[in-house]
Symmetry: C2
Subunit: 278 residues, 2 copies
């Protein structure tokens, strides 16, 4: 039954090599892995890809884009180029999608309108490249607390509007969204927008973790499923009702707690909570 679930390697706190992560995740019976560029770049990507396949794992998403907005046109173009190379790697890995976190305000800027325009322009160029490679692009709207530093794209409705703006209404989209309960659980329009994402066939990924109360650090104090206040089973039900049949991925940034645990313990608890609290 764990075959339905994937582990994002960030959950393991980058304590071990990608080879060890692949082995441990497969050994615990999970069906997929989502690696990060820091584990892949500068290595033989084909060899890692083969290792993942041989372990029987799918690659859900490849994490993640360099932030797009820049103070200059040249900076924007450099950011796009960096992501182009990452997309090449995503293709070699056989990733179901390349995850784009668009980026926030460039340092020194208060101009969110231009930041958003850069996000659109960069994503449009990367979509063209992804289509050639056969790699889908998943936009991940982040929680609004990250607007300044990580993502000026926050609402699910906004991400869907952006998909429509860039790709138009198509039967089989190559541009979609990655839904992470941490980022979207608070949204009063969540049910409506998940249904819309399903109708538009744009749900490319679904991530779970939990929102702790209190949260000591909004970046790296995310909770294990069941330890926080998100009604994850409700959101999962909406996502599945919307037609999503892909893997459900665990992504937990937890400097204070889980990253201090051994990898095997983290994976064991993930398995338990996926069975009871998701």
């Amino acid at each position: 039954m764990m075959q339905r679930f994937a582990i994002n390697t960030a959950t393991l706190g980058f304590q071990c090599s990608i080879e060890e992560s692949i082995e441990a995740i497969a050994a615990h019976g999970f069906g997929g892995i989502a690696p990060w560029r820091r584990e892949i770049e500068g290595q033989n990507v084909s060899t890692i890809a083969k290792r993942i396949r041989d372990a029987g794992l799918k690659v859900t998403g490849y994490c993640r884009s360099t932030y797009l907005p820049s103070l200059t046109r040249e900076g924007l173009q450099a950011n796009i180029e960096g992501n182009r190379r990452a997309l090449d790697d995503a293709a070699v890995l056989g990733a179901d999608s390349f995850v784009i976190v668009v980026g926030g305000l460039p340092k020194g800027s208060k101009d969110i309108v231009t930041a958003r325009a850069h996000a659109v322009e960069g994503t449009a160029q990367l979509l063209e490249h992804g289509k050639k490679l056969g790699v889908k692009i998943a936009l991940e709207p982040l929680h609004p607390v990250y607007t300044a530093e990580r993502s000026c794209l926050t609402l699910l409705s906004e991400a869907l509007d952006m998909c429509r703006q860039i790709e138009g209404a198509v039967a089989v989209p190559s541009l979609g969204v990655c839904l992470d309960v941490y980022h979207i659980w608070w949204d009063p329009n969540l049910k409506r927008d998940i249904a819309r994402a399903g109708l538009e066939k744009r749900i490319f990924g679904f991530h779970v973790c939990d929102w702790l109360v209190p949260t000591a650090d909004v970046l790296n104090d995310r909770g294990m499923m069941g330890d926080g206040v998100i009604d994850i089973p409700s959101i999962r039900a909406e996502v599945e009702k919307a037609g999503y049949r892909g893997l459900i991925e665990v992504e937990i940034f937890s400097e204070r707690n889980w990253w201090k645990q051994p990898v095997a313990e983290i994976l064991k608890v993930c398995g338990e909570r996926l069975a009871t609290s998701v």
Copy 2:
């Protein structure tokens, strides 16, 4: 020119008595004050009200409601009652509006649907009481980072929908919204929704401060106008284009910085920044 601006006493870190705050705020030429219940309750409210009037200050908003959602009906009713008494005080103070922060999930609950229903029910009852007293109610949507613990009401559009749901479309609303740049600056629909709030005559208050990068603590590390990334003049222009002519109120929660400064220094810098960065 400072007459156009008001100081929320939280900005001063509750370092001094309400009487001293009134005197200092008036002495610096500001036109209004927004006191908190902790400064008022258990005291002679009429005496404080007279003192504020005598100092030539208006009372913009009275801060703020007890959180409404509860695990039980009895708890909800008790929360409403507490706010009813605060509304009585708001009337004595001559406050332009009573500020409602609706509250988040009751401890132990993951049921955001019921929390939202409690917010609506409580606000509806308080609106009736406010109308009798001649005190307007200002719903303050908070930044989504506060959903769990402080406000399941987050989007401006959601707050306007709630006003409409409770009061209907009326020519002179008694239920409106309080806009705080800290809570709404990131919203991709901000321009649209401010215009709507204006058309519906529901802008009852406008608060300024800034979003610092990095933010050490999302509750009490807010910035002085100009020190963060919010394009405050743009938002102010939208709010004024939407017809708002009320006072602009400074509300800064700053445990690490401003609350450690003398009251006179805080007020001096507020005055400078209101002239240059708002």
